[in-house]
Amino acid sequence: MLKIIAGRILQAIPVILAIITLTFFMVRLSPGDPFSNEKISAETRARLNAHYGLDKPLWEQYAHYLAGLPFGDFGPAITHPGWTVGELIAERIPVSLELGGWALLVACTVGILAGLIASIKPNTVSDWLPMGFSMIGICLPTFVLGPLLVLFFGLYLEWFNVWGWILPQDRILPSTTLGLCYAAYIARLTRGSMVEVIKQDYIRTARAKGVPFYRIFSIHALRNALPPVLSFLGPAAAGLVSGSFVIETIFQIPGLGQMFVESALNNDHTILMGLTIFYGTLVIGFNLAVDILLTIINPKISNQQSRS
């Protein structure tokens, strides 16, 4: 077990290195530079590139960047002189973690609940209704659902602020919007595996023994129906905590998602590289964590894992 984990961590190093390399050259080869704007002259641009050492050969910059990484040096934030990339990211990580955490809670609550209810009587109205509800989140893209929720709860009912990330209740609307778009997937996965699990003999046995219905569902069946949900949650959680551009734009939340997209659009390569490394590590880390969890739940999978 430990050997497998150590092996996977060792394997992660070349993957992250590959991500860094690919992103570095991808962003540096895309057109434009962080300084271009409507009014800047070619001379000033050249001088700014020189000021930040971007006029050197690309491989030299790449080597310089790699050399800084082990010391936690992600370079200067070119579009925010006076800040380092490390500082900028560190300031936003807690916000994204919190938003992602709440959203995950919403997604799991709504998704698992809807999936459970739907699986009680498959292919009836009590299946279609909760499944239909849980699908609101993917049928209405977040940039539609978000404003709708704001208009209703923020401006019409005046329950919440329409924007910002200051008060505790400012968390509710954004995390609901974000959570709902994951709820549908979780609901589908829960329903699907619940329908299978319920047909198993041990559930029938439990029913015959007179165990109360809700206990069978919530404890016996659910526990065995969770693995597919878990393997979905790995990469999903990585995506959630690394921020959502749309949600952060609609609610103006100072998280990582907005920074990610904007740095990409603005050729802001130092910030983008820092975020990519962070995100890549998260994805690999969450996938690893899920694999370990699955091995613990179901040793059969562990055999396959060790072979891979």
Binding site: I19, T23, V27, W128, I138, V144, L151, V246, F260, G280
Partner: protein, 277 residues
């Protein structure tokens, strides 16, 4: 005894929700394909003096700020949305199935290396990728979505690989191997037909995913080039006029939601039919 495919078909036709979903989906596709021919307007015909008007007898879905007929635009956008959904899904399936089968079947170091490559691409910043593709293929939306299919294949590859891992332990594959069949023929004759179910199911899930992706790209403003349109593009611009001209959001969003619902129920039905455990 009928073939597994026939059995699946019979099971599928008994599932009311799925048959209904299939019917809705076909109706929508048909409407999008032939609808614009019957419209007195074209998708790019403007009437600046008219501007944005609410649904009425001339314009059933209303018009946008340039006075373009929204019904025609919604149907026209549907064509593009379906087309990109299908193309991207086709590409992602082709690449994903081949990659996953090879990785799973060969196993060992090759498998490990191939899966780490999948991890790498998975963790790359998607937006950068889209921007690069837009600058390279920006003038042709179909090429762009073929390219997006090349990114979307990752999860397909993972799923297929998992299936192959279990399938290759089974006796019929081992028997084929003992009989000296070549690797490619084992893959195409034995592994592939046995994965057809999951592949079809996954395809119905990839189409809505790609459509959502297209909507997100439209939100970034990187989607289809005007005056062409797609549902993602219509919904995106409709979302900004949510309060003043709600019909601009409502109709495209309704068609989009209907399609997603139908595709999802269809996927469920197909899974139940192919995979009756």
């Amino acid at each position: 005894m009928s073939s597994p495919q026939q059995q699946a078909l019979r099971r599928f036709s008994k599932n009311r929700a799925s048959v209904c979903a299939l019917f809705v989906l076909l109706t929508l596709i048909l409407a999008c394909v032939i609808g614009p021919f019957f419209s007195p307007y074209t998708h790019d015909e403007q009437n600046l003096n008219l501007g944005a008007v609410a649904p009425n007898a001339q314009h059933w879905f209303g018009t946008d700020v340039l006075g373009r007929d929204l019904l025609t635009r919604t149907l026209h956008g549907g064509r593009i949305s379906f087309l990109v959904g299908i193309i991207a899904t086709f590409v992602s399936l082709t690449v994903g199935v081949i990659y996953g089968t090879i990785s799973g079947y060969l196993g060992g170091r090759v498998d490990s290396a191939m899966m780490r490559l999948v991890d790498t691409i998975y963790a790359l910043p998607f937006v950068i990728f889209v921007i690069l593709l837009m600058t390279l293929f920006g003038r042709n939306i179909l090429l762009l979505f073929a390219a997006i299919g090349m990114v979307e294949w990752l999860s397909m590859a993972r799923i297929v690989r998992g299936q192959v891992l279990t399938l290759k332990q089974q006796t019929f594959v081992q028997a084929a191997r003992c009989m000296g069949q070549s690797t490619t023929s084992i893959m195409s004759r034995h592994l592939l037909p046995n994965m057809l179910g999951i592949i079809v199911i996954y395809a119905t899930l990839t189409v809505p995913n790609v459509m959502l992706l297209e909507a997100f790209i439209s939100f970034l403003g990187l989607g289809i080039q005007a005056p062409n349109t797609s549902w993602g593009d219509l919904i995106q611009s409709g979302a900004t006029t949510l309060e003043t001209h709600p019909w601009q959001l409502f109709f495209p969003a309704m068609m989009f939601s209907l399609t997603l619902f139908a595709l999802n129920f269809l996927g469920d039905g197909l899974r139940d039919a192919f995979d009756p455990r």
